[in-house]
C-alpha cells in the first residue's frame, strides 16, 4: 500500500515557498492510558521559518513530534497540509508528504557506509542505484549546507555529531522534503559543532524548508527561531512569533511554570565532617563522549545534596562512577579519607553505600525473583543458613521496618517482574533504606509514585539525613530538590555548578543555570 506505486501516484508539491503555511495542527490530543500526553495542541509550520518547541523533560514534545511524523495517531484534532486535511500515519505516509525527522537515536545501519545508508533512505525507485550519481548529489548538498562527512566511511567509525550529519543528509537528499523535524539535535554536539549546526539551520531557512526544532536550550531558540511554542504537562503554555516578541526570562518562566514555593525549614548551620570528596573527576558516557569534565565536590555527613539538571547531562554517569559501576578517566574519589576510585560496587556496599538506579525497571529487576529475594541484592545482608540464605530472618527484618511499611511495599512473595513501575520503585527504595546507608545515591526517588508515597519518601529521606546519613539526590523535580536539599548543585555543559543554597536562590535561577550554564 505504501510501496513505490503509491509514491509515484501521490501528488506532492515539492515547492517550498517561503512564508506559506505548510503544516497546520489544530487541537491535537493524545492519551496513553490515564495520561494525557498532549492536550489541545495547536502548531503551525511555515516554509522558510524555524519553529522551536520548548519544554522540560516529559512535557510532551517528543509525543507531539511523533504525531507529526506519523508514529502516533492523535486521538483528537486535525492535521492539514497546504490547507487540506491529511493523514500522516504511518511514518511512510508522513515521508510521502515531505516530512522528515532527525531522531535523537539515529536510524542508521552501522555496518554500511554513509553512501549506502543514504541510498537506503533515498533511492526507493527500482532495485538498483547508481553510486556515482548519488555521490555527486551528496557532494552537492554537502557543500551547500557545509555538511562535512566522508561518504565512504562506515557509520560505526563516525562519532555522534557525524552520524547526525548523515541523518540530516538523508533528509535533505530526498527531493520532496519540505519539513525537517530535529529532536534535541544539539544534545550530542560539541560547542563548535553546535555553531555549525545553527549556521546550517539558517541555510535551510533560506531554502524554504520548514524547520521544527525540539530543544530545551534557550540560547539556540533565541539564535534561530522565528516562532516558539512552549509545552508544559502536555499543554501549550506560551506561543509567540518573533515579531510578537519573546524574551529569555519569559521563556524560562513559562517552561518551569509557576510552581508554588515550597516551605523550607532552615536547618541550623553546623560544621559537618566531610564524608565523600571528589576531585577532578572526568567521566565518559556510553558512546565514549566526555560527559563530565574535571568535576570536584564534596558531601558532608548528614546532609542532602540535590543534583539538578536537564536529564542527560551526566547525572547517570556521575552516580555510576561514585558507585564503581563506571570507570573514571581522571580524578579521585575519597570516602571517609579512603581512596575508593574505581573500587568494585561490592566493596562500596560493604563500606555503607546504597544505590537506587535511575531506571530500576530495567536495571534492578531480576525476572522470576520475588520481592523478598530482591531485598538481599544490595539491601539486607545475605544471612547464611546452611548452604543457603536465611529467608525467614530476611522476611522478619523486612516486616519490622517502619520505612517499608510507610512506603506500602507490595507482598514480599510477589514476583517482581509482575509489579508496576511504582511498586518496583517502592521495592528499590525499601531495599536501599533497609541497608541504613552512610551514603545513599538515589536517582529520581519519587518517579512513578503517588502523591502520598512521594511525601512519605521525602520524609524518610529527611529523617535519614537527620540521623547522620549523607544523601546525593538526583531529581528532575525542582520543588522536590528545593524541599529536601541542604545544598544544590547543577549539572550542565559537562560541569558541576554550584553549590547553591536553596534559601539564597530560587527555582528560576536554578532553572536558568540548568538550561544555559553558569553564564546566565
Amino acid at each position: 500500500m505504501f510501496g513505490r506505486g503509491s509514491q509515484q501516484m501521490s501528488a506532492v508539491k515539492p515547492e517550498r515557498i517561503p512564508g506559506q503555511i505548510v503544516l497546520e495542527a489544530k487541537g491535537l490530543t493524545i492519551r496513553f492510558g490515564s495520561l494525557t500526553a498532549n492536550d489541545q495542541v495547536d502548531l503551525k509550520v511555515i516554509a522558510g521559518q524555524v519553529h522551536a518547541v520548548l519544554g522540560e523533560n516529559g512535557a510532551g514534545k517528543s509525543t507531539l513530534m511523533k504525531m507529526l511524523y506519523g508514529v502516533y495517531v492523535p486521538d483528537e484534532g486535525t492535521l492539514s497540509m497546504d490547507g487540506k486535511p491529511v493523514v500522516l500515519h504511518p511514518p511512510a505516509q508522513a515521508r510521502l508528504h515531505g516530512i522528515r525527522m532527525v531522531f535523537q537515536d539515529f536510524r542508521l545501519v552501522p555496518a554500511l557506509t554513509v553512501l549506502d545508508n543514504i541510498a537506503l533512505a533515498v533511492a526507493t525507485k527500482g532495485t538498483r542505484y547508481s553510486p556515482k550519481s548519488m555521490r555527486e548529489e551528496i557532494a552537492k548538498v554537502a557543500t551547500r549546507y557545509r555538511i562535512d562527512v566522508n561518504p565512504d566511511a562506515y557509520i560505526w567509525q563516525l562519532d555522534l555529531g557525524q552520524r547526525q550529519r548523515v541523518e540530516i543528509l538523508k533528509a535533505l537528499l530526498s527531493p520532496d522534503t519540505r519539513i525537517v523535524i530535529f529532536d534535541e539535535p544539539t544534545s550530542v554536539l560539541t560547542p563548535h559543532e553546535v555553531e555549525a549546526f545553527l549556521d546550517m539551520i539558517q541555510v535551510l531557512k533560506k531554502d524554504g524548508y520548514g524547520v521544527l526544532l525540539i530543544t530545551h536550550k534557550i540560547t539556540e531558540v533565541m539564535a534561530v527561531a522565528d516562532c516558539v511554542t512552549v509545552l508544559r504537562q502536555g499543554k501549550v503554555t506560551f506561543s509567540a512569533t518573533k515579531s510578537e516578541g519573546f524574551t529569555e526570562s519569559h521563556l524560562v518562566e513559562t517552561m518551569m511554570g509557576a510552581k508554588p514555593m515550597p516551605s523550607i525549614k532552615r536547618k541550623e548551620e553546623v560544621h559537618r565532617e566531610c564524608l565523600l570528596d571528589v576531585k577532578g573527576l572526568t567521566v565518559s558516557g556510553d558512546h565514549g563522549q566526555i560527559v563530565l569534565e574535571d568535576v570536584s565536590f564534596s558531601l558532608h555527613r548528614g546532609e542532602i545534596v540535590g543534583v539538578a539538571g536537564i536529564s542527560g547531562n551526566g547525572q547517570r554517569e556521575l552516580v555510576e562512577t561514585l558507585f564503581g559501576l563506571r570507570h573514571t578517566l581522571t580524578g579521585n574519589i575519597n570516602l571517609d579519607g579512603k581512596d575508593i576510585t574505581n573500587e568494585r560496587p561490592g566493596v562500596l556496599l560493604d563500606m555503607g553505600m546504597a544505590f537506587v538506579s535511575e531506571d530500576p525497571v530495567k536495571e534492578s529487576v531480576i525476572p522470576g525473583f520475588t520481592i523478598l529475594e530482591h531485598m538481599i541484592l544490595g539491601g539486607l545482608p545475605m544471612t547464611p543458613k546452611g548452604f543457603g540464605v536465611d529467608w525467614g530472618s530476611t522476611l522478619r527484618q523486612l516486616e519490622e521496618s517502619e520505612d517499608v511499611r510507610r512506603l506500602k511495599l507490595a507482598d514480599p512473595s510477589r514476583s517482581a517482574s509482575e509489579l508496576s513501575g511504582g511498586n518496583i520503585q517502592r521495592m528499590v527504595l525499601s531495599r536501599a533504606l533497609l541497608r541504613n546507608p552512610r551514603l545513599l545515591l538515589v536517582s529520581y526517588p519519587s518517579r512513578g509514585l503517588d502523591i502520598g508515597t512521594t511525601k512519605a519518601v521525602q520524609q524518610i529521606l529527611s529523617a535519614l539525613a537527620d540521623q547522620g546519613s549523607t544523601i546525593l539526590l538526583i531529581s528532575e523535580d525542582l520543588s522536590e530538590l528545593f524541599e529536601l536539599s541542604d545544598r544544590l548543585v547543577v549539572l550542565a555543559n559537562r560541569q558541576l555548578l554550584g553549590p547553591y543554597h536553596p534559601l539564597e536562590t530560587d527555582m528560576h535561577t536554578i532553572g536558568r543555570v540548568m538550561l544555559k550554564g553558569e553564564s546566565a
Partner: protein, 344 residues
C-alpha cells in the same frame, strides 16, 4: 465449532502433552511410509529393541550418561545467562587428558585411587578448555556462544592430532587410536547382561549437585541473579565476571568428566571419533528441559532412547541410523512449540 476452535487455541494440558509426544511420531511415520518402510512394524521393533531386555535398557543408560553431563554443561551456564555450545570440545579435551593420564601416569595405580584421579584429569581438561572461552569473554569481551562453538573444531582436530601422533598405540597397525587404558581404570559395570557401568550414577549425582547449588545455595542465588539481570547483579555488588568465568569452568569440568566416563566406561581408548555429537545432543537435551538440571535427566534419557532405537531401525529397515535424527528434531520442535505456548 466455536468450542473446537477454543479448544485448539487453549488445549487442556493433557492434550498438549499427548500432541507433543504423538505429533512427532506421526510425522516421522509419514516419512517412514514414504521411504517404503512399515512404520507400525518398525516402531514395534524399535520399542522392542530398547525396552525388550536388560541389554537394551543398559544401552539406553550408557548412551544417556554423557548426554546428561553435557546437558548440565549447557544448563549451568544458561542459569548465569550464558550459552555454552562447547560441551562437544570440552568433552573431547576431557577424554584426551583422561586418556593421557591413564596411559602415562595412572597405569600402575590401583583403581580405587586411579579412577578418581583419572576423573579429575578429565574434568581438568574440560575446565581448561572452557576456561579459555571464559577468559575470552571476561577479559576480551568476546561472545561465549561463538568462542565455545569455534573451539569445538579446534578440539576435534587436537584429538585427531594426538591420536595420529604422540598418543598413538604402537600396536595399532597404524590405526589412529591410543593404547587402551589399564583394566583397573575401567569403570565397574553393575549388570552381567549388559555393558551398563556406574557412570550413570555419577551423572545423576552431578545433576543433583548442580540442582542443589543452583537452587539452594548462596552461590546459586548469585548465579541466578547474574543470569536474570547482569546489570542488577553488578549493582548488588556481585562480581559478575568472576561468576561467569567460574560457571564456564565448572561447566567445562562437567563435560570433561563425561569424556573421562566415555573412555573409562565404554571406549577404553581414545579415537578421533570419541564422543562426536554428544556435546550437541546434550545441548539439545538441556534446551528441551528449559535448562532445568533435573528435568534434563529425563530429556537426556529420551534422546538416548531415540539414539539406541535408531540403531535397531538401521538393522531392521535398511534406513541409515542417522535418519532417526529427523525424529529427534521433530521431538525438539514439538517441545519448543509447547514451551512457547506456555509462555504466551
Amino acid at each position: 465449532m466455536k468450542a473446537l476452535a477454543l479448544q485448539l487455541r487453549h488445549p487442556r494440558p493433557g492434550l498438549q502433552w499427548a500432541a507433543t509426544i504423538l505429533g512427532p511420531l506421526l510425522a516421522f511415520a509419514l516419512f517412514l511410509l514414504i521411504s517404503g518402510a512399515n512404520p507400525i512394524e518398525l516402531y514395534g521393533m524399535m520399542i522392542e529393541s530398547v525396552f525388550g531386555d536388560w541389554y537394551g535398557i543398559g544401552e539406553v543408560i550408557i548412551k544417556s550418561t554423557p548426554f546428561i553431563l553435557t546437558a548440565l554443561a549447557a544448563a549451568l551456564p544458561a542459569k548465569a545467562g550464558m550459552i555454552n555450545v562447547g560441551g562437544e570440545g570440552q568433552l573431547a579435551l576431557g577424554a584426551l587428558v583422561a586418556t593421557w593420564s591413564a596411559v602415562y601416569l595412572l597405569s600402575d595405580m590401583p583403581g580405587a585411587l586411579g579412577l578418581p584421579l583419572m576423573a579429575l584429569f578429565g574434568a581438568l581438561g574440560g575446565a581448561v578448555w572452557a576456561g579459555i572461552a571464559g577468559l575470552l569473554k571476561t577479559k576480551g569481551n568476546m561472545n561465549e556462544t561463538i568462542t565455545t562453538l569455534l573451539m569445538n573444531y579446534i578440539a576435534f582436530f587436537t584429538i585427531g592430532f594426538f591420536c595420529q601422533g604422540i598418543l598413538k598405540d604402537p600396536a595399532s597397525f597404524n590405526w589412529p587410536f591410543s593404547p587402551p587404558v589399564a583394566e583397573q581404570l575401567r569403570l565397574p559395570t553393575f549388570s552381567v547382561t549388559s555393558r551398563a557401568h556406574i557412570g550413570i550414577f555419577i551423572a545423576v549425582a552431578v545433576a543433583l549437585l548442580v540442582w542443589f547449588v543452583i537452587y539452594h545455595t548462596r552461590l546459586g542465588f548469585r548465579i541466578r541473579t547474574v543470569g536474570g539481570n547482569a546489570e542488577a547483579a553488578r549493582q548488588a555488588g556481585i562480581n559478575v565476571k568472576s561468576i561467569q568465568l567460574g560457571v564456564l569452568i565448572a561447566a567445562g569440568a562437567i563435560a570433561g568428566l563425561a569424556g573421562m566416563i566415555e573412555i573409562s566406561g565404554i571406549e577404553e581408548r581414545l579415537r578421533p571419533t570419541t564422543g562426536v555429537n554428544y556435546g550437541y545432543l546434550g545441548f539439545l537435551a538441556s534446551w528441551m528441559a528449559w535448562n532445568h538440571p533435573l528435568r534434563l535427566v529425563v530429556t537426556a534419557l529420551i534422546i538416548g532412547t531415540i539414539s539406541v532405537a535408531g540403531n535397531s531401525m538401521e538393522m531392521n529397515s535398511g534406513l541409515p541410523a542417522s535418519s532417526v535424527q529427523i525424529l529427534m528434531a521433530l521431538v525438539l520442535f514439538a517441545l519448543l512449540i509447547m514451551g512457547r505456548r506456555k509462555k504466551a
